[in-house]
Amino acid sequence: MSGSGLILAGVDGDRTWGLQDYVARGGYSALRKIISEKIPPETIIAELKASSLRGRGGAGFPTGLKWSFMPRSFPGAKYLACNSDEGEPGTFKDRDILRYNPHTVIEGMTIAAYAMGCERGYNYIHGEIFDVYERFEAALAEARAAGLLGQSILGSDFSFELFAHHGYGAYICGEETALLESIEGKKGQPRFKPPFPASYGLYGKPTTINNTETFASVPFIINMGGEAFLNLGKPNNGGTKLFSVSGHVNRPGNYEIAMGTPFAELLEMAGGMRGGRKLKAVIPGGSSAPVLPGNVMMDCTMDYDSISKAGSMLGSGAVIVMDETTCMVKALERLSYFYFEESCGQCTPCREGTGWLYRVVHRIENGLGRKEDLDLLNSVTGNIMGRTICALGDAASMPVQSFIKHFGSEFEYHIENKKCLVPPEVQYEGSQIYVRP
């Protein structure tokens, strides 16, 4: 937990999540400004467009543009949903935002509701972090009591009801349409798009879904102006962003840094490589992003464009750092198991393909690989990618393709020698959390 940046600025662990502290940090000033100055919704959306804020959930879609898709004069209910169903391995930023600064999400959602004319909102919180759900409920109660949420917010004629909703831990419910199905009480399975949520969302009504961090950034954009927010980062990559650094570093955790900060600096902030070992590989954007070799990563800056140019994705900003003690086959086996287990089972390529991928990688790891297996894996991933209803199929395929692309020799070694290139005792050493001085 670091107290730098915007969202995490001035935050001091569990002690400062409450309304009083948030207001002391300047909280709810953006909402007050909007309501007292009666700022028109178009101005807010224009400000967001100017800020170049891109969705922090992984896809990086421009937020201002997404908000402008909501039909303005729709007769009937419109909904707002916050995606806090953070389930991707390596990602743990949203839960810290909700745990340590929940009011910034509430304020951001209220501003969004104001801008898009939504009367109701839901914050869908991952099922395995129940304490965070309770924390958010407590924050909601504070906001309602203070007249910042509910009917006639701050005495105006603007009303917005916001509810917390906790899932049950299925990764797929982080996919926005599966999330909507889940809120509706159905089995969490993605919907085919089109129609998109902006026209047919929750209960068939226009709905906008944004990530927790996206909403959390909104008050700051309103306060400092879109231009200033953009200038914190670099063109087309506005503002600051939380990075969840995990793996073989000395101080894993969330770091909020300006977009465009070199990876080397982020690694430095996280205390550098554990035991001073050599950096082998980095998954820069959560487990579904393609892995990049350490040397490629060291030349990157942490923003959507730079990482994309290097052949991966910034995704949700979950940086998984692996050092030289890592067996890449074993790492991929674990990732593939995750996608195999989390596929919703709705559409064929993902339901059948994720199990196939896992079983082949598992076989290679266990010394039963065959020469043709790498071609098979590439072919199977090719048959999954772009053929599924949602992005989970792609998410399961990209690690496989990138691991083979960058570390193919390790896989070949495994297949030929029926053992790891990295000796077991080295792997064991690397797996120890406390590194001997």
């Binding site: 199990g355 196939w356 076989r363 098979l376 053929r387």
Partner: protein, 779 residues
């Protein structure tokens, strides 16, 4: 309209169409599994991926809306590569043991695997095994074969109206299953067998008894409910092995009710009568046709001579064909008697002689889709007419408001906006209130003949129905089986007609059986002073002709029917089956062919005459019923019994101008509603879905379903308290002389002061009329 190019061909389609719609229009086949034209789009099998110009990846044809100027390739390299990729995934966990699969030879996966599958599998890991589920006596499962297309799930939810199947678990562990410890009990459940594109869901009665290529396929028409579903009957060595729907968008669409689909099992029942039989000195003996027919002819001749022709009556099942019914009435009238009737379960015949024509639905079945208000009076709609109810269900999704009045609030699995639950005797007063409210709503007067009966005050529920109907654009008022079988059938129909008139809508009669309309057209009703079905029993005749009717199960008053027919000096029964009650009552049994072994015609509720041919040779010495009646006419040397084939009979029966037309109006019938309510409890009777006719009663698998479970009496909690018994107690029901012991259970869907007890069941065959007073005693 949108212009689109598919595989180089231009086609214009309506706005909102999908690529699949457009491809279907030009006859381009896009392989698919989860897509079905009658179900919602799942887009989950991914087999229909096609290449679309400017799209970075292949798109599912079933779910992708057409845009103007779109260019699509269904067989390009990109499309076929995607389709083959999906096929490989579908096959990796699917057992490749088609030779031992019941679906083999008629399997979409098998068929498409020929075009899109590899000759060898690249998948060498362990295959998935899924445990089978018990879905009940009709549908068998091989869940390992399931490809999770979810057609069955969507069918139960969307068409049958109740989610009885779902996809549980995630990913590779996903399985289709019913709710825990539940089976699929829908009366339409058999359709999931047709929908299943693989061998996961197969027919339990048919399974492993024949291969598809061994079966001859012949068209036929269902002999059960008044819809007249079109069938494909599949036959091997003259034995009916299976019945499938023949698609007819105007009638059954692509569906069949379970009754239509599985009743064929009764055809080969041990009860089949295969040789003529004579009762001599109380002992049944098999005989030949000549002896049996001469016995019958001589008996009738003698009775007519000794007691006059009026002492002879003919009673026929409404499930008999036009040809049978027509020759039966012609034969009876040739003897000199006008006493012929096919309305065996009816009690009120006061409308006879005032009818405009044959009572019918008043509209084509397919027009249900365009109704926006419907009032259903006295009907067990879902069980009596499953596919008609299905059409209403679909229309309700598109804004049809349904109102209903009945003595039992049976769950129809569709939204019913206004429902009045009342005793049968109170239906007429409520309808009078609806008429009063409607007249007020429309600012007009109710018809003159109702005059004094129109009440001054109107209940809220009657007004709600009136308001709903008054706001309709296209209105129908339907009268169901309970209403037609009620003692107040005439008044109910008079009022239904008036309600329809006031709303500018259609008055229709749903009809009980395959030939409920046809019986009128064939003139199998008294026309010139003869006795109707009820009178023939209340004023015993000396001789009876019975056509496919069983005394204990097919009559409005089974106790009376058994007594009277048992005591009659001569009963000639033409029947496909023998039954204890027939053996007790009849003196001669003539084996006639069921619908699969004869040609014939049924006229369905929309007035459509549908003829069919025999699909199998008659079993044993069985003969088609029309031939037996023709020969009886010959033996008695009557004129006009020289038809060579059933077509000639049908042509004569349905000749333009000689038959009454369809028409529900009642001309000049006085409205006389006594208005007294029964002092004790009133009986409410339904004819259980699988007990309605002799064939379905012998369909063994249907008899194992929940719908066929032993009848219990049902009454509301308050009524039970008034009787002083607990739910689940054993009680003695009494009607006149008859009594029956059954269990009684609390069921608040039954109107107050009523006891619902099924008719057409051996357990209640000792009871009297289907409606009227009934007493309940604790045992």
């Amino acid at each position: 309209m949108l212009e689109i190019e598919i595989d180089g061909k231009q086609v214009t389609v309506e706005d909102g169409s999908t690529i699949m719609d457009a491809a279907t229009k030009i006859g381009a086949f896009v392989p698919h599994f989860c897509y079905h034209k009658k179900l919602s789009i799942a887009a989950s099998c991914r087999m229909c991926l096609v290449q679309v110009e400017k799209a970075p990846k292949p798109l599912p044809a079933c779910a992708t809306p057409v845009t103007n100027g779109m260019k699509v390739w269904t067989r390009s390299e990109q499309a076929v590569k995607a389709q083959k990729g999906v096929m490989e995934f579908l096959l990796i966990n699917h057992p490749l043991d088609c030779p031992i699969c019941d679906q083999g030879g008629e399997c979409q996966l098998q068929d498409l695997a020929v075009g899109y599958g590899g000759s060898q599998s690249r998948y060498e890991e362990e295959k998935r095994v899924v445990f089978n589920k018990n879905l009940g006596p009709l549908v068998s499962t091989d869940m390992t074969r399931c490809i999770n297309c979810t057609r069955c799930v969507r069918f139960t939810t969307e068409i049958a109206g109740q989610m009885e199947l779902g996809q549980a678990f995630r990913g590779e562990h996903a399985e289709i299953m019913p709710f825990v410890e539940k089976t699929v009990d829908s009366e339409l459940s058999g359709n999931i067998i047709d929908l299943c594109p693989v061998g996961a869901l197969t027919s339990k009665p048919f399974r492993f008894s024949a291969r598809t290529w061994e079966l001859a396929r012949r068209r036929s028409v269902s002999p059960h409910d008044s819809l007249g579903s079109n069938l494909i009957v599949q036959v091997k060595h003259d034995v009916v092995k299976r019945v499938l729907p023949f698609e007819n968008e105007d009638i059954n669409e692509c569906w069949l009710s379970d009754k239509d689909r599985f009743s064929y099992e009764g055809l080969n029942s041990e009860d089949r009568l295969t040789v003529p039989m004579l009762k001599q000195d109380g002992v049944w003996k098999e005989t030949d046709w000549q002896t049996a027919l001469e016995f019958a002819a001589n008996g009738l001749r003698k009775t007519a001579k000794q007691n006059g022709p009026d002492s002879i009556g003919a009673l026929a099942s409404p499930h008999a064909t036009i040809e049978e019914l027509y020759l039966l009435q012609k034969f009876t009238r040739a003897i000199g008697s006008d006493s012929v009737d096919f309305r065996l379960r009816q009690s009120d015949f006061r409308a006879d002689g005032f009818r405009e024509g044959a009572p019918w639905l008043g509209m084509p079945i397919s027009e249900v889709a365009s109704l926006n208000r419907l009032f259903v009076i006295g009907s067990f709609l879902r069980k009596d007419s499953p596919l008609l109810a299905q059409r209403v269900r679909q229309a309700a999704k598109r804004g049809l408001h349904v109102s209903a009045i009945n003595a039992s609030a049976e769950e129809w699995l569709l939204p019913v906006k206004n429902r009045v639950l009342t005793a049968p005797s109170a239906i007429v007063p409520v309808l009078l209130q609806v008429v009063a409210a409607l007249a007020a709503e429309k600012g007009v007067n109710a018809a003159e003949h109702l005059g004094a009966a129109i009440p001054a005050t109107v209940s809220d529920e009657a007004r709600a129905i009136a308001q709903s109907l008054a706001s309709g654009r296209k209105v129908a008022v339907w009268v169901g089986n309970l209403a037609v079988q009620s003692e107040y059938a005439s008044e109910i129909q008079q009022l239904a007609e008036e309600i329809a008139r006031l709303t500018g809508g259609v008055f229709g009669v749903i009809g009980e059986a395959a030939n409920s309309v046809g019986g009128y057209l064939a003139k199998a009703v008294p026309l010139v002073g003869g006795l109707n079905a009820r009178q023939m029993l209340e004023q015993p005749r000396k001789a009876y002709l019975l056509l496919n009717a069983e005394p204990d199960l097919d009559f409005a008053n089974p106790a009376l029917a058994q007594t009277v027919l048992g005591a009659a000096p001569l009963v000639i029964a033409l029947s496909a089956f023998k039954s204890p009650s027939l053996l007790a009552a009849a003196d001669v049994l003539l084996p006639i062919a069921p619908f699969t072994e004869t040609s014939g015609t049924f006229v369905n509720c929309e007035g459509r005459a549908q003829n069919f041919n025999a699909v199998a040779r008659p079993l044993g010495d069985t003969r088609p019923g029309w031939k037996v009646l023709r020969v009886l006419g010959n033996l008695l040397e009557f004129e006009g019994f020289d038809q060579n084939d059933s077509e000639a009979v049908a042509a004569e029966a349905l000749a333009e101008g000689s038959r009454p037309d369809l028409g529900n109006r009642l001309y000049g019938l006085e409205f006389k509603f006594a208005g007294q309510t029964a002092a004790g409890f009133e009986r409410v009777s339904d004819v259980s879905i699988y007990a309605a006719d002799p064939l379905v009663r012998r369909a063994t698998s249907l008899q194992k379903t929940r719908d066929a479970k032993a009848p219990v009496a049902c009454a509301s909690t308050a009524t039970l308290a008034a009787i002083g018994v607990a739910s689940g107690a054993r009680v003695r029901l009494k009607q006149g002389q008859g009594a029956a012991e059954v269990l009684i259970v609390a069921d608040d869907s039954v109107a107050a002061n009523c006891v619902r007890v099924a008719a057409a069941n051996a357990a209640t065959a000792a009871l009297g009329a289907m409606c009227g007073e009934i007493s309940v005693e604790r045992v």
